[in-house]
Amino acid sequence: MMRMLQLLNGPHDLGRGRGFWSGMVLLAAAFLAYPTIASSFSATNVAYYLLNIPMALGLSLLWGYGGVLSFGQVAFYGIAGYTYGIVAGNLQDFAWGTEAGVLAALLAAGLSAAAFGYFLFYGRVAAWIVPILTLVLALLLATFLGLTAGYQWRVGDIQLGGYNGMTGIPALQIGGLTFQDYAFFYLVVAIVAICYVALRIWVNAHRGQVLMAIREDVLRTELLGYDVRLEQLRVFVIASVLAGVSGLLYVQWGNYITPSAMGLQQAALPVIWVAVGGRDSLLAVAIATFLLNQLTYILSSGGNQSALVIVGALLVAVMMFAPEGIIAGLGRLHWLHWLRARRRAVPSGPASSGK
């Protein structure tokens, strides 16, 4: 337990120490208290800004910590969403039907990622081919699902629905509780918190170090005796299951999914959130995902057509001037003092005494 807490407080993300974690607890409390002052509409909207965070965290793990860029995380988002729709839709009249849907969706996302990742990583393709191929996978899936308009495309009682998408996807039910409105909001907050804490422990634990070792130097890591292919496949599957979690939450939110959830523009968004936040900081990515989702919604619901231009410009500017990300950059500024103070406390010797 203490070890877990130590890892949680580990160095491979922004923020450490008592002050930081008190802040995080306050933030969580603020989210928990939010529905008491907000309408169910606002809560649902905020839930939407939050529900993409697991996918973004997964991409941060994959790209920021592991050095493998994927443009196709939305493919696994979609796979999970569709699988849940099919399984939960067919079983919704049975006890544990929607839970079976959740399980099936996460399994589908994980297994498909494992199969696809096997080709990518065991084929040892060049680094730049991974994003292109994952993008092709997403577009292929979107195209395929777009063609399932016909009546023959049904699984049990559920119609895949082609471009119009799959409608009437049931909300998650546990016992007598249906996760809608406020209950759904709490579900999302809880899942986001769990994902963040778990991933923060993970990146500070041994596997996380190996991941960063691979990002720094694939060959060096391999020549320490690590099977880099396996490590990359593992993190790809984790990231894809996290994308699946977001996909699951998304279909609960809208009771609906279409192939465009895997389209070209949707595929761009996770990369933008992660890059703008700062890809090697989970916290920065989570904050950026929340803020950028909100920004996009505010811009576009105000009838502003330049949302895409603004988001695109933001991405280019970040890549040019702050490649480590805006929020991570700001965060590091703030923590710099603290770090320096800490370093002074460490006995400094070897640098000078080495001969």
Partner: protein
């Protein structure tokens, strides 16, 4: 804000409004609706006399979502502008002629008849697939002959309140559509929602509409089949467009049909209509091609058409990429007669494409700005006075325009914006004098009958209307036994659920 000078006579003082001329110029269905106008059918329709109240601060909110940017914006902006025009006219004190057609008949029928009532036939009538077209026959309706369709409503605004158009841009993004629909319903608390271009957008927001019991109008032409108690579809559907155009094409060019349809819901379903009704018209579909929406290079499709040697081609192509088919086919020397239900009336391809890409194209439309009637020319003039730089005024824009007027009429009649009551009022069955002609809203199916015209292009892509059907019902849902008044449901039927279509695969 436009000036009101371009409108017919300004209404002097505001009088206590009558239910604006119920049935004035409305239809009379022989044997069914005679004199119905006078009968205030109880309970439902005229429960409260209409009273003009003191001007209230709170406006009547018309929620409106369309794609003003992204791929579909060439349609969305037309629709937005038409909605603005309608709201402007309502606020200036005007309304379209029309009223409840059968307060004593259809609405009541909907409530009490075991079988769905229709406008053309009473209970138990036979499936009447095609109106003969041309002149109104014994069985056709008597349409209004008035050309002055914009008449004073007796008040500025609606129930003494101004009408506000709350509009948002869906940006062709389904998730944003859902967010916006929720915002309109839960936060803005709109009194009515008018929204949706692509079927995917409609299907994205319909669950939200149903959950919140929101009165919702979908004004687009579409593949048909939506049977939803809270949704009214005022655009034309397959049976109103596909069969008339097929009938004309088979008579004029021959029985061998080649279908090229976009490989998605609309294309697949419409192609099923073509395939299934060809035998009824003694024709045959000799080839079908379903290019995906992403495809923009059509040489193999063109080669297949050439090899099959059809008499004419049914093109059900959708979107930017697929519109490339026309110039490519023309360049490849494929000059077969073409029929469609999607082109020209919405995306004004006949104006955008260089001739002769779209020469010899035929489409059964319920509206195009070229319709040469006086009532339409007046409408077009009003529209371009307000939006002088707009490129086209199309079918969906007209549907949006009369739909908002229709809603206002129903509210004025029932005297409240209470959505449940307005919905019940609309289920009385309404006629409205739209720019296209008289349109009937059918209670049982929540769909509209339309005045259908066959538009054909010449070598220079000029439009002429070569045949017309003054009233075609949306009869397919009736055939399936849908009666939303008695049995509200919330689904979309597909042709596969109809045994008739199953015969043709």
């Amino acid at each position: 804000m436009t000036d009101s000078e371009n409108f017919p006579a300004s209404p002097g003082e505001i009088e206590p409004a009558q239910p604006s001329a119920p049935c004035s110029g409305g239809p009379t269905r022989r044997g069914l609706i005679q004199g119905a106008a006078g009968i205030a059918a109880a309970g439902v329709v005229l429960a409260r006399p209409n009273i003009v109240r003191a001007a209230s601060e709170t406006p009547v909110k018309v929620g409106f979502i369309e794609d003003e940017s992204g791929n579909l914006s060439i349609y969305g902006i037309q629709k937005l502008h038409a909605a603005r025009l309608a709201v402007q006219e309502i606020n200036d004190g005007y309304t379209l002629a029309g009223g409840p057609v059968g307060s004593g008949c259809l609405g009541t029928m909907g409530l009490y008849s075991p079988t769905p009532p229709t406008l053309t036939s009473g209970p138990g009538a036979k499936l009447n697939i095609i109106n003969d077209g041309g002149t109104p026959s014994e069985h056709a309706i008597v349409t209004a002959d008035t050309e002055e369709i914009l008449i004073p409503s007796g008040e500025k605004g609606l129930l003494g309140r101004p009408v506000d158009l709350v509009s948002s841009d869906g940006q062709s993004n389904n998730t944003l559509w859902q967010q916006l629909a929720r915002r309109m319903i839960q936060q803005d608390k709109v009194d009515v929602l008018v929204a949706g271009f692509a079927s995917a957008e409609r299907e994205a927001i319909r669950p939200i509409v149903d959950q919140r019991k929101q009165l919702y109008f979908y004004t687009n032409q579409y593949e048909g089949g939506v049977a939803d108690g809270y949704t009214f579809c005022t655009g034309a559907v397959c049976e109103q467009q596909v069969i008339p155009v097929m009938q004309y094409m088979v008579e004029k060019f021959g029985p061998k049909i080649f279908t090229i349809a976009a490989n998605y819901n609309f294309g697949q379903l419409t192609a099923a209509w073509v395939r299934s009704f060809a035998p009824v018209l003694k024709a045959k579909v000799i080839g079908e091609e379903f290019p995906p929406l992403e495809v923009s290079e059509f040489s193999s499709v063109i080669a297949k058409v050439q090899a099959a040697k059809p008499d004419w081609v049914m093109t059900l192509l959708v979107g930017q990429n697929q519109s490339n088919y026309y110039p490519q086919a023309a360049a490849a020397g494929l000059h077969l007669p073409m029929a469609s239900t999607v082109n020209m009336a919405q995306g004004y391809e006949h104006k955008r494409f260089t001739p002769p890409s779209l020469a010899n194209m035929h489409n059964a439309v319920n509206y195009m700005q070229e319709i040469p009637t006086k009532r339409n020319q007046d409408f077009v003039a009003r529209f371009y006075k307000m939006f002088p730089n707009d490129p086209y005024l199309g079918q969906m824009a007209q549907n949006t325009y009369f739909t908002i007027h229709l809603y206002a009429k129903a509210v004025r009649l029932i005297g409240t914006t209470d959505q449940e009551k307005v919905r019940r009022t609309l289920e009385a069955g309404w006629a409205i004098e739209a720019p296209e002609g008289t349109v009937f809203l059918e209670p049982a199916t929540h769909h509209a009958s339309h005045y259908i015209r066959l538009a054909a292009t010449d070598e220079k892509q000029q439009i002429s209307f070569v045949r017309e059907w003054p009233m075609i019902e949306a009869w397919w849902l009736q055939r399936l036994g849908v009666n939303l008044v008695r049995h509200p449901e919330h689904k979309q039927y597909t042709p596969q659920e109809d045994p008739f279509f199953k015969m043709f695969g």
